[in-house]
Symmetry: C2
Subunit: 310 residues, 2 copies
């Protein structure tokens, strides 16, 4: 497949892939939100997904109608209890009847409890599950992936290693064959007084020893020399990543969160979506504040990853 | 004076202020850089500054010529030793013969040693000196200030308090009478597992007790609800700051650095400058990679602050 270089192209590539290999099925926990169902309906009409909607069946049906969709196009599983909605919806995925686990109206805690449940949840061994923001930005010829700006707060080196690999695997599902990974810090020099520069060196060495696969890792890098070739040149940084990073691994949640939101709000013409990766199946956790377009883009990303994960 | 709402307007307001109250004098340590002198020459022609250039007099004169400037317009102090250039230049400021301390070609360490020197440096008591990025961003009706993304790496609460007040004082010099200060985190809820949300609450309470002056402080806030009124509304945040922040106080250097560089690189049409504040005089520390325009904007900011500090 072609490398997805923008989020508009993402929709197109997801359509192509699904027309060849078939749709993926989303399982939605507490699907009692007409806005969410509208986004799913759009993805369904584009041929990306079918959906299983778990929730109070009266409310789910009312939301389907409000979204202008047709109830016969959906599989509804009646479940009135909020916490159980998460368990029922995630079981559809772990039992192989659906491919993507998605949050509806239940509280995030209940949704994540489903994801992490030891019997029916989606953890793979001890691998850390992580969040990935992904963006298209005018002037940049590639999708920029940022992790982790939303899920893991203060990852240690072990978790950062998993975050890198999770994000690389997702980028590869979008056709970025060998993603360039920048370990983002405030500086490009190793500074013993700045712990994230030391984690960056360890991640680089893990990559060189083959402990991180299908990617190129370099760091520490600051944002300018990670994403701008001219900035990297001025600083005389010799690197296969500097200036051309696809993936920015941030030291902690405050960095990734501010960076992703900065792109979303300050970079006119940009598009932003997010996905939880590193689980047995893609997990979509959008917020009510997300636009319908952002929800659709997150679903499209999940569909690509679901195809990639097999 | 009018509130400066963009960095273009900053130049205009600095011109007005200097035509009323006179120019400010910059003292440049190791002024052996034609690019830097070009920026100073432009500020000089605009009526903002006069300059004292400390360095090897042959080299300084060659740079003046290369910059297309006239050596009779400058006061040159001959000093061949790099470390002494910092001491001599900062002494010009602390002795009252200049108003702004600026870095030339000497290493940053030597420049800062001048700034922090106990006899002739610019520290005011135990007040932390801090860096402030300031930006104009298309679509925003005000200058956005970010601190500290370049100088203090991992400030504790005591230092954060100084950083807030330093940045507020600088914003006020640009006519923002009562700056709205957001303590930036990844979330808007107080979370005992996220230390920066606790520092944010302490800063809010310091403000309420009058320990932070001439500003309004709120936090924790995430970037979206700090700067976007609609995002703040969706989250039902009641706050005089949310959605309308002028100043973003970041928890640590990686956050501010990535955020400022994100604006600079991703927000088309934005402008970015930086300044060191909280010392007895404004301190300009630009990098060779900065554009001539960025250098001029930093000088203009320093001139405004120098007038404000008296």
């Amino acid at each position: 497949m072609e490398q997805v270089r923008s989020l508009s192209q993402l929709i197109e590539e997801a359509r192509k892939l699904c027309s060849e290999k078939g749709r993926k099925r989303i399982s939605v926990a507490m699907a009692e939100d007409a806005g969410l169902i509208s986004a799913i309906e759009e993805a369904r009409k584009l041929g990306l997904v079918d959906a299983t909607l778990v929730g109070n069946s009266e409310k789910v049906k009312a939301c389907i109608e409000e979204a202008g969709a047709n109830e016969t196009d959906y599989h509804i599983i009646a479940e009135d209890n909020e916490a159980k909605c998460g368990i029922v919806a995630v079981t559809e995925v772990s039992a192989g009847r659906a491919d993507i686990y998605m949050k509806g109206q239940l509280h995030t805690d209940n949704f994540l409890r489903g994801m992490l449940n030891k019997e029916v949840g989606l953890r793979v061994g001890k691998n850390a599950i992580s969040h990935c923001y992904f963006h298209s930005i005018p002037g940049y010829d590639r999708v920029i992936f940022i992790a982790d700006g939303a899920f893991n707060m203060y990852p240690d080196l072990k978790m950062k290693k998993d975050i890198v690999q999770n994000t690389v695997n997702f980028a590869r599902s979008l056709g970025v064959d060998t993603p360039k990974v920048a370990c983002l810090c405030a500086v490009e020099m190793v500074n013993p007084d700045m712990p994230c520069t030391l984690d960056a060196t360890a991640l680089v060495q893990m990559y060189k020893r083959g402990q991180l696969k299908n990617c190129i890792v370099d760091g520490p890098l600051a944002l300018d020399n990670a994403i701008d070739e001219e900035a990297a040149r001025i600083k005389h940084i010799k690197s296969d990543v500097a200036g051309r990073a696809d993936i920015l691994i941030v030291p902690q949640i405050e960095v990734g969160n501010a960076l992703a939101k900065s792109i979303s709000f300050f970079a006119k013409g940009s598009e932003t979506a997010g996905l939880i990766v590193g689980a047995a199946a893609p997990v979509v956790l959008t917020s009510r504040a997300d636009s319908p377009r952002a929800k659709l883009l997150s679903i499209a990303g999940a569909v690509m990853l679901a195809h990639h994960q097999g």
